[in-house]
Amino acid sequence: MKDTDGSAKEGIVHKAIRHDSAHKHVSGAAKYVDDIAVPPNTLEILLGQSKFAHAKILSMDLSQVENFPGVIKVLTAADIPGTNDCSPFAGDDPIFAENVVSYLGQSVFAVVAEDIKTARNAIELAEIKYEELPAVINIDQALETGNVLGPPAVIECGKVDQALAKSKNKLEGKIILGGQEHFYLEGQAAFAIAGEDTDIVVHCSTQHPTEIQHKVAMALGLSNHDVTVITRRMGGGFGGKESQGNLPAIVAALAAKLTGRPAKLIYDRDDDFILTGKRHDFQISYKVGFEDNGLINSVIVDQAMRCGMSWDLSEAIAARAMCHAENSYFIKNMRITSHRLKTNTQSNTAFRGFGGPQGIVGMERVIDHVAHHLNVDPLLVRERNFYPHKTSATHGITPYGQTVHDCIIQDIISELKKTSDYADRRKDIEKFNKNSEFFKTRDFSYSCKVWDFLQCKLFKPSRCTATCLQ
């Protein structure tokens, strides 16, 4: 990495510097929440999870669980002194489900026991009667039944329908993007110790200690200053510990508060998979109008995203997907509609890229579809539609109204074409594929991405970059 004047500057940026914990990582001395030496009277917690995706809770008899030897306490919504909510802001994520369960595996109660084995044995004895309700699981079902968290959000620029109608060529299509599990190598983990008066200390593997502090205080009916959150380090997060750490932290704090004993809640990997939200899966449908030379006149794109049973961070993620929907291309007429779908599944959450990747993939698909239709190298279509270079007389404007002053993607692509030997390699690959009956080599292409560095709501400057994929 060189500075703009071409000279490497003094400082830390250009040096290979060891991770400041590396010597502890390699010797096993780096401590994560579950590694903290705990007092011998520490209790372990297991969440009792819903057995249905959507159901009314008719009755709940936890007496046998409570009476199981080694069980110290069973927690339900009734035990929460403050607010029964662990959502980041919308107030729609109960700590323990009351009356209705909204996804398979939702937390309904918690067993606080001398050790986790006891809790696992005891939890089997819970008797909960449910009345199953119709469940909306996937995107198609949610679209069909109109199950949404809020009305569609729309960004529009230009004269979309007219430009589409006037285009020489029109195509429409759809791309389905799956979800993704964070699989932070260390599962969700929290350990709470009640102190003097109303004090409580929570050690927690979280990307958002402040939010944990606020949510623990709200749930326990305390003031923020009563709650100290300590996060030494995390064993990975990737967005999955932005809001999803709230639940275990609150339950551990609640258990510690109510029993007076330290309490620990570590999700087993299976529970972690089932309880926590993931990357949003998307269905992106589009209509595109374009000329024979690949110039795109108009794009209509509908982003249907599966948000799960509550908002969590879906509103901001949807916004980011929308603000990346045109990617690095200047589309003068564009309508982007986001459908934030409510489903009876885990509440999907932040994940590296925060909606941006989904938005980008949608547009890259449009480009490929156009290129395929015109039977040309997709890179030609990409180049034809890039935002104007920063040196051009006129700049492009994003669908959300920002002028793109600093576009340099043309420079990046031309350098990459040279250094990657693009043209020759593509020829080789084509030849190979033609002559090989069964085995086709992977293709070789570029995919571009624009990245909005600031929260898209603010519509602040964007940069154009490109990645070379083989």
């Binding site: 060891r18 991770h19 914990s21 390699v26 190598l185 064993g235 990975g236 992977r442």
Partner: protein, 502 residues
């Protein structure tokens, strides 16, 4: 209390405590649940929290530790294993080294640890102790740090942050590094300490609820099991470990094959290679891999080094899984399975052992005492594994195939599939369609259609019924092309793939 009555080989008592070495210190462990895992014990009883729990099911490698033994010639052998699915009783007579036990005098870091620091091989660091231990076992075995095998060495360790390149580079940098003198000295001491705790006494540990028996000879094992057929036979525990950690099953009596001296052998008879119950995948692979490169390639994709170091060949048959990798291959080779009840033995063709999903031809008190693999099975034997990931994944479809050709005609065909039915099952209609046909691709293309007559597969997370049918047909065709000399790249061979695309 309902524990196994075991009589020791010498008629004496069974020892009721374990002896093993942990990071250089001899341990005596008694009064412990038979289903206690090594990882739990290390973390909870010994406060050695460097080994992490990332999954508790053998997948992620964060709990990797080294198990050290001496071989017949007195040299040390090193195995990386997943501590989350190793039961304590399996440590009798071994040495265990955890990440905390690596460094030298004055806390000098071990070369494997230094390499990971120097190459920036850690970010969150949660996976790092496991990677250190996988590199350390390869380093100690002086095998597995070259470009062609470093991926295998590390395939059982997941890292979600760093990306594998710096970790691989760290590993490769070790191939020329010198073992420090303190490590050589330490290993000499370890050899002596291992000799000291060597014994042939049977052991049984229990906490009064769950027991774990470690018999040492074949008669004891057979009698004990026949006397108490409700107990659970444990071999590598790569399945059973998960019953405990994932299914919360209560196993009151367990009996381990691993220390029975007759069970650890691979015998060569004239017509058969005999694999006994305690032979691990890794050992079998090292012995048989060179004979059949195709099964060697399959074994490389079986779990990971850690799983192969624990799991056994016989366990892979005894568990009756319809998606086990070895049954289709071993059936294609015409293998026999041997079952023993006390001193009564019987043998049957392996395919007949699998009756239906969850049911095998194994009577109460009987156990799998060996698998007999014909020595002379020919050059036409192939196996193919299809799974979503290259390493450490369960097959969606698995095919083992073998055939004989006389003049230009196919005279015998054995085609067996996993993942296509409730058991590993032969494609008899495909086999029939191949018989007496000319040995050319067209015969295989035609015969492949019969997959639809042979199988009505399931749809599950690994593949839809349609995918499975289509993939199975394609494998039959691929087999035909490959045998008759068409160019079919072997996608399991990284070098071939790299040559193709470069």
């Amino acid at each position: 209390m309902d524990t196994l009555p075991i009589v020791g080989a010498d008629g004496g008592d069974v020892r009721n405590y374990l002896t093993f070495i942990l990071n250089g210190k001899t341990q005596r462990v008694d009064n412990i649940a038979g289903d206690m895992t090594l990882l739990k014990w290390l973390r909870n009883q010994k406060s050695l929290v460097g080994s992490k729990e990332g999954c508790a099911e053998g997948d992620c490698g964060a709990c990797t530790v080294a198990i050290v033994k001496t071989d017949d010639t007195g040299n040390l052998t090193w195995r990386s294993v997943n501590a989350c699915i190793v039961f304590m009783g399996m440590l009798e007579g071994c040495a265990v080294i955890t990440v905390e036990g690596l460094n030298g005098p004055d806390s000098e870091l071990h070369p494997c640890q230094k390499a990971l620091i120097d190459f920036h091989g850690s970010q969150c660091g949660f996976c790092t102790p496991g990677f250190v231990m996988s590199l350390f076992t390869a380093w100690s075995n002086k095998h597995g740090l070259m470009a062609e095998d470093i991926d295998d060495t590390l395939a059982g360790n997941l890292c979600r942050c760093t990306g594998y390149r710096p970790i691989v580079e760290a590993g490769l940098s070790l191939k020329n590094a010198k073992q420090p003198q303190w490590e050589l000295d330490r290993n000499e001491i370890l050899k002596k300490e291992l000799l000291k705790i060597k014994s042939s006494e049977p052991v049984e540990i229990t906490n009064g609820k769950n027991s774990f028996s470690v018999p040492t000879n074949y008669e004891d094992f057979s009698t004990t099991y026949a006397d108490q057929p409700s107990s659970t036979i444990v071999s590598g525990a790569t399945d059973i470990g998960l019953w405990v950690t994932k299914q919360n099953r209560n196993l009151s009596n367990m009996i381990w094959t691993g220390r029975v001296k007759e069970f650890s052998k691979i015998d060569q008879q004239e017509d058969f290679i005999i694999i006994r119950p305690a032979v691990t995948h890794q050992e079998a692979m090292e012995k048989l891999g060179s004979k059949w490169p195709t099964i060697n390639a399959l074994w490389k994709r079986f779990g990971s080094v850690q799983v192969r170091n624990s799991g056994t060949v016989c366990g892979n048959l005894a568990n009756g899984s319809p998606i086990g990798d070895l049954p289709p291959a071993l059936i294609a080779l015409g293998s026999l399975i041997e079952l023993t009840n006390r001193n009564k033995k019987r043998k049957l063709p392996l395919e007949e052992f699998f009756i239906e999903y969850g049911r095998q031809d194994r009577h109460s008190g009987e156990y799998v005492s060996g698998v007999f693999v014909p020595n002379k099975s020919g050059n036409n034997f192939r196996c193919y594994k299809l799974s979503k990931r290259f390493d450490q994944d369960i097959s969606a479809v698995m095919m083992g195939a073998n055939l004989s050709v006389e003049k230009t005609k196919i005279t015998k065909a054995t085609i067996c599939f996993g993942g296509m039915a409730g058991t590993p099952k032969r494609a008899t209609e495909v086999e029939k369609a191949l018989l007496d046909q000319p040995f050319e691709p067209q015969s295989f293309i035609k015969a492949s259609k019969n997959i639809n007559k042979d199988f009505d597969p399931l749809t599950d997370v690994r593949g839809s019924a349609d995918y499975r049918r289509k993939a199975a047909q394609n494998l039959v065709m691929k087999y035909g092309y490959e045998l008759t000399g068409s160019f079919v790249p072997n996608l399991a061979d990284r070098n071939q793939v790299e040559n193709l695309v470069s």
